[in-house]
Amino acid sequence: MTSTHDALDTVRTLTSEGYKYGFVTDIEADEAPPGLNEDTVRFISAKKGEPQWLLEWRLAAFRNWQKMEQPDWAKLRIAPIDYQAATYYSAPKKAAGPKSLDEVDPEILKTYEKLGIPLHERAALAGVAVDAVFDSVSVATTFKETLAELGIIFCSFGEAVREHPELVRKYLGSVVPQGDNFFAALNSAVFSDGSFAYIPAGVRCPMELSTYFRINAAKSGQFERTLIVADVGAYVSYLEGCTAPQRDENQLHAAVVELIALEGAQIKYSTVQNWYPGDAEGRGGIYNFVTKRGACRGKRSKISWTQVETGSAITWKYPSCILEGDESVGEFYSVAITNNLQQADTGTKMIHLGRDTSSTIISKGISAGRGQNTYRGLVRVQPKAQNARNYTQCDSLLIGKRCGAHTVPYIEVRNPSARIEHEATTSKVSEDQLFYCQQRGLSQEDALSLIVNGFCKEVLKELPMEFAVEAQKLLAVSLEGSVG
């Protein structure tokens, strides 16, 4: 036993690389004064040159938000958040409307390179159209022309408001209304930018659309808004990656993502969330309060969420599917890791409204250190959802004695033709397993990585190839120092 422990200590020392993406880019920001009131909302709207209807929409959200309280039902311990101390708008000054990559601030481009996503190469080699969100404003969009030829709109949210107001107005808030919940209302009031994608009827988007989010400015919250509409028979796969620099204080991230799939359309939305998780003592780290929801509006539409959540001090996130269309399909594949003092309360809601709708939920929670990991999910079958099917599997893996794994599924059935199956297991990485792998020649680190990757493989296989590789690496990095 001692030899195992010695080996673990060695591994820990050798691998404590820390958070690789913790650097701060030094550029002048154009910021709103800290605090939140109607003037802040007006400032943001004016800054972005928004039409009156959008300002009104934001103000309605703000008034809603004022009447709401921060939810406390999740299994999360959250230090009180001073919403008046945060900055609600922060735009890189030099980023006022770059026409091409050449116009993008070189500092920013360097940041992306450190993140491992040089726009040029990445875009060119991988065929990825990147709409990078730097703090709040979209700074560069590539491959726009290729997409435009197919009639696909992929741009910053701000640009969409200017260029395609009718689409934005039609769909904004149609899945996540302004007053949906505390954090969604906050986002609706102060969102600064985000991404917009529209795939016209019958078009299969030929490349993965991708947005990299990054929180840079100190004390700035990030409130991006993503809206993706797949018209009749369209298909799109969307990748979202998130990282943030290392800071001692907590930063707030309250995003809203709305997906709309019309008849026969498919949206695949993949996230690798690697926000700064805080240090080993729990100092700093992102508070990640995200509302993600998709509506399968049409017959045989499909929305699939895949997420790998390794970062953030606190994750509060339930990507959901409203299965309105007959024979529509919802999927949720999730890996969530909590190490050190990270807390995650994440899961999904599958709301079956249409006939012959089906949903699948595969959730893998990994707890290490003193991390607390909760799966919280709802499967609801409404009276008219004839022949609804759900299969849920949620497994928890515990590494060490001071972490926690919790499973809170809600199953609410109002139609007897439903068939709902839910299974959950909890297990640990045993010294026996590690030893067995080591005896076959693997290092302790590789052994753990192997076991964890095996545990997660049903989810990882849902990710687009290059994301899967990155996710596997992230899993290993996130669990460093957790065995022993």
Binding site: K401, G404, E412, V413, K428
Partner: protein, 410 residues
């Protein structure tokens, strides 16, 4: 925070009844306890659906009616199939007050540990009925003890039962709850099992169609103790039964099982909580629920494993059968795991009868109604057979299920 808040209106009739009742014959400590419980109840009021534990339970029939405490005595009927051995003491609450006040006092301490559930507090303030069973170490009570709680004549009933089993003792108790008319039964049973003690605890709730039943059974298990609880829920328009087990000693085992059969507009919740506070404990839970007509069945099951409760082995299953387009089921099987060396799992299913099995039976000549009844019975009986040893008890429970199915009249 709300110490100064106004008294909740729904509590008023109960508090008034509490004040009106003189307790001259009772010892001062008991009167004081009742007073404390009543005050706390007044503060909390009835639970609401905003509280997570009550979100699926519609208490309207209770809050909209008035159920002043009913003071008719001797509503409890105790039957023994054989002689009680020398080491066992069994009596009503009134007898216990007279003959064994220390047992009652210890048991009430126990109940307070159960925490501040409003209805448990109300029971603590108002209880008159119930029984106390205390068994000395090493004593085995071979014959089942049968207890029938009757609530007749309207109003509310607050029976309190206490079961204390000394080290290596054993017993079987069958409690039947029969609320009649528009009555509300609010029962609390507390169980303390000494090391290696073994209790089989069967509860049958078969109140009338207008009755309300809220019940709590709370068991604390010392090392090596074994608690087997089986709950059959058939009656009442509104019912909720909480079964809590606390694994306090190493290697204790807990088996919770139940069958709920609902029809018309019945609402029933079964809520279980097993708290593994010591290592090496085992939990096996199987709950089945059959819902017909417009009825609504709820299962809330929580298994918690505290830090250090290693080698815990817990399994929980919730299976639900919906027989009608307007029937509804909510189930929430929950795990809260704070130790890593554990084996925990849960499973839940909701659906209607298996189409293949139905066809198989019909292909052998059995008509549809009979085939359906056979499968429903099999679904329910499976849980009984897994939980209750073969013998008169199992037969009794099977007959109750059979009778329910016959009433369906296909």
């Amino acid at each position: 925070m709300c110490a100064m808040a106004a008294v909740k209106t729904e509590t008023v009739p109960y508090l008034e009844a509490f004040r009106a009742r003189t307790r001259d014959s009772e010892p001062a400590w008991l009167v004081e306890r009742r007073r404390t419980a009543a005050a706390r109840f007044a503060e909390l009021g009835f639970p609401t659906r905003r509280q997570e534990q009550w979100r699926f339970t519609n208490l309207a029939p209770l809050t909209q009616g008035a159920f002043p405490p009913n003071s008719v005595e001797n509503r409890i009927q105790i039957e023994l199939a054989g002689e009680l051995p020398a080491g066992a003491w069994l009596g009503s609450v009134q007898e216990a007050l007279r003959d064994r006040p220390e047992v009652l006092r210890a048991a009430l301490d126990e109940a307070e540990l159960a925490g501040a559930q409003p209805f448990t507090l109300l029971n603590a303030a108002l209880f008159d009925d119930g029984y106390i069973l205390a068994i000395e170490p090493g004593t085995a009570v071979e014959h089942p003890i049968e207890v029938v709680h009757r609530g007749e004549g309207g109003g509310s009933f607050h029976p309190r039962s206490v079961i204390l089993l000394g080290e290596r003792s054993s017993a079987t108790i069958v409690e039947t709850f029969e609320g009649r008319g528009k009555s509300w039964t609010n029962s609390v049973s507390t169980v303390r099992l000494g090391p290696n003690a073994h209790l089989r605890h069967v509860m049958v709730q078969e109140s009338g169609p207008e009755a309300i039943h809220l019940g709590l059974a709370r068991a604390a298990l010392a090392a090596g103790a074994r608690y087997e609880n089986f709950l059959l829920t058939l009656g009442a328009r509104l019912s909720r039964f909480d079964v809590h087990a606390i694994i306090e000693g190493e290697g204790a085992r807990c088996g919770l099982a139940g069958v709920t059969l609902l029809r018309e507009s019945q609402e029933a919740t079964v809520a279980t909580f097993v708290d593994h506070a010591a290592p090496g404990g085992e939990t096996r839970e199987v709950f089945k629920c059959v819902v017909d007509d417009r009825a609504h069945g709820v299962f809330l099951g929580k298994i918690a494993v505290r830090p250090g409760a290693d080698k815990t082995d817990a399994k929980q299953v919730s299976r639900n059968l919906l027989l009608s387009p307007r029937a509804a089921v909510d189930t929430k099987p929950e795990l809260e795991i704070l130790a890593d060396d554990v084996k925990c799992s849960h499973g839940a299913t909701v659906g209607d009868l298996d189409a293949d099995a139905l066809f198989y039976l019909r292909a052998r000549g059995i008509d549809e109604a009979a085939a359906r009844a056979m499968l429903i019975e099999a679904f329910a009986v499976d849980a009984i057979e897994g939980a209750v040893a073969a013998g008169p008890m199992r037969d009794h429970l099977r007959r109750r299920v059979g009778a329910w199915l016959e009433q369906s009249g296909s």
